[in-house]
């Protein structure tokens, strides 16, 4: 089974070009952090209430990315709230994406291609070798959003991460998203981690509107 982090990154791969796509770059970065927390929660390593995050079991999961984050969390007991941890891990966003891509390549789902544009600019692409996992993720999300029933835990989590990245528009029509807007908002609100991801994105957006740089904005939220 893919991790939540791998599923979010896989969803961002353009099935035609192999490029990584997102309509909201910083939303994606926060969502990747949220995905790691969901993976740790599903592995019963952490739990959250409305504000705080607790480490339940710091023993390794066997997944290098999750174990690195777990070790970092164990080493910083002064950071207690979900929001502060999201901000703390925001700086690791490139690592999280890179590690998820490496895992998807190792699993035989993606290929890594490096080409040059205009002979000098490196262009990286990640074409799908096996499109079934991505189709499966899209199908689960489509059912969760267009259906009226209670989705599975993983699907609720995934909707709440795909929405702030702007990834839903790559497989749902504008009409579908508009008609099901209330349902999407409801699913995004169910989980503490998702609510805090949304808050972090809103704070960053507000800070950027006021003219601050991204790193300054992230720093100021700590």
């Amino acid at each position: 089974m893919l991790t939540m982090l791998e599923e979010v990154v896989l969803l961002a791969v353009d099935e035609k070009t192999g490029t990584l796509r997102s309509t909201r770059e910083f939303g994606t970065a926060y969502a990747l952090v949220g995905a790691v927390f969901f993976d740790l929660a599903l592995a019963r390593k952490i739990d959250t209430d409305t504000e705080q995050i607790q480490i339940l079991d710091a023993s390794p999961t066997g997944n290098p990315t999750l174990d690195r984050v777990l070790t970092e969390m164990r080493g910083r007991p002064e950071v207690k709230t979900v929001r502060n941890w999201i901000e703390a891990l925001f700086q690791s966003k490139d690592d999280l994406e890179g590690q998820a891509l490496a895992s998807l390549i190792e699993r035989g789902i993606l290929l890594h291609e490096k080409t040059k544009r205009l002979w000098i600019i490196d262009v990286e692409r990640f074409p799908l070798v096996n499109n079934q996992p991505q189709e499966h993720v899209k199908l689960r999300l489509t059912r969760a959003i267009l259906g009226d029933g209670i989705p599975e835990t993983r699907d609720i989590m995934l909707v709440s991460l795909a929405e702030p990245c702007g990834l839903l528009g790559f497989f749902l029509t504008d009409m579908q998203r508009a008609v099901r807007g209330e349902r999407i908002r409801m699913l995004c609100h169910l989980e503490t981690i998702s609510r805090k991801v949304a808050e972090a994105i809103a704070a960053l957006d507000a800070s950027l509107r006021q003219g601050g740089s991204t790193s300054n904005a992230a720093q100021s939220l700590r």
Partner: protein, 105 residues
């Protein structure tokens, strides 16, 4: 630590939970709710003696409700304590779950 019992009352299977509905209790809670769904088309989760609920506890209840929905059964969460009610409100659970002040039976 959670204590779970269940009993039949006027056609409803009432699952009574006492204690903390956290990660340590989540599997047990979900299993109790699923078992109740298998026994009866009407299930009430009585949370009147639950003093704490975490995200893992909420997920367990949601998945119990999902099991009932798949069987086209009724599922109601009742008697939330003040702290638990606050968590339910923050999560918007009322949009997806039936929540009542009192037991339906």
């Amino acid at each position: 630590m959670i204590q779970l019992t269940h009993e039949m009352r006027s056609g409803w299977c009432v699952v009574v939970a006492r204690g903390r509905a956290d990660s340590a209790a989540a599997d047990e809670l979900e299993a109790a709710l699923r078992s109740a769904v298998e026994q009866s088309p009407k299930v009430a989760a009585d949370l009147g003696a639950v003093d704490y609920i975490s995200s893992a506890g909420l997920r367990a209840i949601l998945q119990g409700a999902r099991a009932a929905q798949e069987c086209r059964g009724e599922f109601v969460v009742c008697r939330l304590t003040a702290g638990v009610k606050r968590v339910f409100e923050m999560s918007g659970m009322r949009h997806i779950l039936r929540i009542e002040e009192e037991l339906p039976c």
